[in-house]
Symmetry: C2
Subunit: 278 residues, 2 copies
């Protein structure tokens, strides 16, 4: 039980299991938002920010994201009960192994990678600790993906961590997660980029809201997306197959002027889209 | 020269060639917005609203969209210098023929169909005269698509009409227009619908901003889109070919783990998307 005396807007007693020390590796948008949320909600006595750029760490501390900072991974994680890895996806597995070797405590390690991992569906065009928001995880879906051998008690502890930050927590196998996220995020990105790339300069003056919406994510940073595609390659290719099969049925209906079928297909798309908030 | 005395916010003298009488067939979102813009800008002495539902016509008149209404096409167009057809696309060509036969005046006929026709790239989820806005065409692109035999003076008169409503006017052949709009609007709609339809219910909880943007237009009314696809079938199929070819290069780069090529493709998509306002 802890009382959020520092934050009068969070009135009353709330049942939480506070962490003594949480270490965050990488205090950008997501790591920073975790730190802010932990502190605002009074969920951790100490939040250690770990990174390789001293300037980012200083900024994170001055923004109240962390209580202590270090560029030394071993020292940072030594006495933490929980380490949350918030680095770009390609660094996660190496760091996880290193942390497991260096932690002296029975440390719980989790991460926020968007493939093969626990995955809070948060993110934005903005980056860096200055973009962090304590409410980034509120009412968002966070997927926890334990391996077959993961201790159930530890899985529950990680789930309660995300729930305490305000997330709706889903548990999935890593494979089911990667399959879902390929269709829900990675293939839409590839489609958006392909549509933008297929549009020639004489067609561009005619683009309206539909094209703009459909291609919006193509403005994302290729350097950020490349490792996402690379690490989820098999599932992206499978989801792409699925998309292409459906698109082929649209094409076939149009080719043979089958209005009934085309209407049906448009209706299926509409029904699915309508089932999701705008 | 006309002075917008009714609308003090439009100060001063503006050089315009006012129309004595403009008839609008179909006073929904687009027809209604034309009427409002004509009246607000003092561009027409009389605006006749023509439709088959008396209730819509009454609403249009009470909203100040038109000065006179009728459900009788012949009577409505008889003394109009300009008739703008703003009905669903599949009714346009039949109406144009009928109007040409019935007009007693040397009437200029134009339309707002999104295929094979002059095409203001306006529109929204909202419909009906109550959604009409006088500024719907301001700073939007309107394409005027004269046939090979159209009198140049009449083309210019139609172009000046759209320019007077605040549009940026482009002149294209009907074919070039339909090709551009297939890629800029129709194929994005089909892709959005196909992506939504390809997403299964267990993947939906994981959709985030990217999927939402990419599929947004799939919420559009299938009954509205079917005739658009039907009337622009050949160009939609060609644009779909182009999109599928580009998507195939993305797939091939991912399949053979060609990071350089994949980055290049993402960059082309980003560059094109960045060249257009958000």
């Amino acid at each position: 039980l802890c009382y959020n005396s520092d934050f009068p807007e969070l009135k009353g007693w709330r049942i939480v299991m506070p962490w003594k020390s949480v270490a965050i590796v990488g205090v950008g948008l997501i790591g920073g938002s975790i730190g802010l949320a932990l502190r605002k909600r009074g969920l951790a006595d100490e939040v250690v920010g770990i990174g390789h750029r001293a300037s980012s760490l200083r900024k994170a501390k001055s923004l109240g994201i962390v209580t202590r900072t270090t560029t030394n991974l071993k020292r940072g994680v030594a006495e933490s009960e929980l380490v949350v890895i918030c680095t770009p996806v390609e660094m996660i597995s190496g760091l996880a192994v290193e942390i497991a070797q260096q932690a002296t405590f029975p440390t719980l390690i989790t991460d926020v990678g968007s493939t093969k991992s626990r995955h809070p569906l948060a993110g934005s065009e903005k980056t860096g600790p200055e973009s962090a928001r304590a409410d980034l995880f509120e009412d968002r879906v966070t997927v926890v993906t334990p391996g077959a051998g993961t201790d159930p008690a530890r899985v529950e502890r990680v789930e309660s961590f995300w729930a305490a930050l305000g997330s709706h927590v889903l548990r999935m196998t890593p494979r089911a997660h990667d399959q879902a996220v390929a269709m829900a995020s990675h293939v839409p990105h590839m489609i958006a980029a392909a549509l933008a790339a297929a549009t020639s300069s004489d067609e561009l003056p005619l683009v309206a809201g539909g094209w703009r919406d459909t291609t919006r994510v193509a403005a994302g940073d290729p350097q950020l997306w490349l490792p996402i595609f690379r690490t989820n390659r098999d599932q992206v290719l499978k989801a792409l197959d699925k998309f292409e099969k459906v698109l082929a049925t649209f094409r076939a209906a149009l080719e043979r002027e089958d209005d009934t079928r085309l209407t049906q297909l448009l209706q299926v798309g509409k029904r699915t889209r309508d089932s999701v908030a705008s």
